[in-house]
Symmetry: C2
Subunit: 432 residues, 2 copies
């Protein structure tokens, strides 16, 4: 009955879309993942591999023999295959390249010649083109000779006899035009193109602003070499959002929920190490006030309050500023205005919460001087938080560092240090 | 020359896509924003309004008079208009509703009858349908009578004479099929539909898994009432990603970079207040160890190290777990495995960084007992971080609370408290 079970399971698996099978594989610890993979028919393996995150995919490819790998590669689209190949060791890459027929191999090498993160990598090379000097009727007859069209074909590209891009004609335009008209009359020549060297971010922004379904990709000679469709962009947007969240916690975007312990610990350890440096810096600041701490224990009890409130207020400003930078809404012309606004918000919230903290501290320690000192330190730290919430991301961007990655670590280091410094410093001045 | 300038600016503005003008408006402080809006021709106002974030849009609508508002509404798509109307005060809504022609008003009321965040709100009601019992030639002739088709029409819907949804026929299929065939022969009946009551998340997941461009929307009687296209989904994905980032900092997703100080301060103040409660809880824990802190000042200096390292390690586990939950990759069957893995990562990283911290503490304070205590507390806190990184989001999800919103606050409260408790507790036991 083991066998019977597995054949039922096999049948069920084939009913599921590839994306779901990939997700199922990623939900399983290594041994179960391996067992499930064994049940998947070879002709489905290629598509499922393209849906997996890098690390999970590597764990599966590791278990595949050469023949299986070649068969899977055979059923993959060229752009997906390029994506997978990049993660494989050299000998497996060569093995797969040799197994491809000439046409696919040439197209793959073309795609691989563009850098990761560029349009050339993202594009589909499977694109239909027509000449401008034929009639709609001719094109319609030519189309009818096809069994199917490449997926997501919403337009035919129009090219010169040398392959130069001239414009495109929407499939719906072909449907609405009278058959005797020329392609050159019905095509739209005033259409967006992207260069294969352009970045994923540029093309994503273009799709976002112009409400496009597909766009032609050209090389430096303005020759048509492929197209980008909205579904590629959706993948790019999704993966970009995921990357931001994962990287801000010092994780690799491709991290597998069930990755082995030692590589996981290593990758995460780096981030812990960076944090250790920043927290020792804060500890060093505290260490400068040993005398005050030795005399007034309440300072040790209350000091996290000042640091933490600054961290929260600062990260609110930081989050707004990072979004503003990503949308190109912050420039030198409005930075001053923004800084003033954030300082005003800091004064308001600083005053309100400083009052609350002062009252609580007074009930707790019955020391009016201590209440005054913590209130002043809190207001001061919220103002510092407002300034660094704006200036930290602006500076990082100028240095070419992604503020979404390291902004929060730097900001909380600043608010921790200023929080401890102002609270313990004021206490030393006025309470000792 | 003032006038000349503004006419040049006006011409330039009309060249920009609506999305860019909206972004430009959002990059400006209130007075400049108001001045720029004055320059925009009324017929462009509707589309630009739909691209603005809620708060920025409200700030602009506030300045518009009735006539302007009605004119702008007139040029908007029904689904966009529904989106805008929801944010307006009752009297402006009524004014706009009364100004619409009967057909648009009925379609708008239909859309508004569905709840925010459902497919009914997201859908376009502008959809073309044909009967199954006509030939492709008839449909082609009917299509040619149109000047244009609704944007992003990749398929015609097929409905019964009662409006029941039967399937759809791709525009490309019409192009490839011989004209004498019946629609019923070339249509695909086995096609996805979504209910108007379904949530945005459900339909986004469907598009993601099936690589769709558009899908039919039906009501409870399986009657066709609209369609959702991939570009609506892209907006939903983008806005969802933005929402997560903003909410995790206690910000409103629609927050305007240049919103007035007082409402901004109020909204952000709530999050500061919540944080104040958690940090006072941690302070209370520290307060229980006044004796130890009074005797050994080094404890106050080093205690942030233990708490902070736990917070970082915990947020790594939390981030992974939140992604796993969002992708439905975590279930009761693998929680135990995951917990064991995270504990093992915690043991490894805990040991490594505890050794580093112990050595630094020894050089600093020359007290072997203190080094032993901080190392033990650090390992203990990283294990607690691993457990809470898994259990906090699982518990929040069971309670129906979005772990992406409040997970981090709860987690760092746990790691702060356990960090202070274990370090100061062990110190009290062994060092006093």
């Amino acid at each position: 009955t083991e066998d019977k079970h597995s054949s039922v399971l096999k049948a069920a698996l084939m009913e599921l879309p590839a994306a779901d099978v990939a997700n199922l594989l990623e939900s399983m610890p290594p041994e179960q993942r391996h067992d499930l993979w064994e049940l998947i028919p070879p002709e489905h393996e290629g598509e499922i591999l393209t849906w997996l995150h890098d690390e999970a995919r590597a764990s599966i490819i590791n278990d595949m023999d050469e023949k299986e790998l070649v068969a899977a590669a055979d059923s993959m689209e060229v752009s997906d295959l390029a994506f997978v190949l990049e993660e494989l060791p050299r000998d497996q890459t060569d093995l797969i390249l040799e197994s491809l027929d000439m046409d696919r191999r040439l197209r793959l090498e073309k795609v691989l010649s563009y850098e990761d993160g560029t349009v050339g990598r993202l594009m589909t090379t499977d694109v239909m083109a027509v000449r401008p000097d034929v009639t709609v009727a001719v094109v319609l007859r030519w189309l009818r000779r096809h069994e199917t069209l490449p997926p997501h074909t919403d337009a035919l590209m129009v090219t010169s006899s040398e392959g130069g891009f001239m414009g495109k004609v929407a499939m719906n335009t072909l449907l609405l035009s009278s058959p005797e008209r020329m392609i050159s009359e019905v095509m739209s020549g005033d259409t967006e193109v992207v260069m294969a060297q352009a970045s994923e971010q540029e093309v994503t922004a273009l799709f976002n602003r112009r409400d496009l379904i597909s766009v032609a990709v050209v090389d430096e000679q303005h020759h048509l070499i492929g197209r980008i469709t909205l579904d590629d962009i959706v993948d790019a947007i999704r993966s970009d959002a995921e990357e931001k969240v994962m990287k801000s916690a010092g994780l690799d975007q491709e991290e597998d929920l069930f990755s082995p312990v030692i590589p996981s610990a290593k990758r995460r350890g780096v981030w812990l190490g960076i944090n250790l440096i920043t927290v020792f810096a804060a500890a060093w600041v505290i260490g400068q006030f040993e005398e005050a701490l030795g005399q007034i224990v309440a300072l040790a009890v209350l000091m996290p309050v000042v640091a933490s409130m600054g961290g929260i207020a600062g990260s609110q400003t930081l989050t707004l500023a990072i979004r503003g930078l990503a949308l190109n809404q912050i420039a030198s012309s409005n930075t001053r205005w923004l800084l003033m606004k954030e300082l005003a918000v800091g004064v308001l919230n600083g005053t309100v919460w400083a009052a609350v903290v002062a009252v609580v501290a007074w009930f707790w320690f019955n020391d009016i001087g201590l209440s005054a000192v913590i209130a002043a330190a809190l207001i001061f730290n919220l103002l510092a938080a407002a300034v660094s919430g704006i200036l930290v991301p602006l500076t990082l961007k100028k240095l070419g560092i992604d503020p979404a990655l390291s902004g929060a670590v730097i900001l909380t280091t600043v608010t921790d240090i200023i929080g401890f410094l102002s609270f313990l410093g004021l206490a030393t001045l006025f309470l000792l």
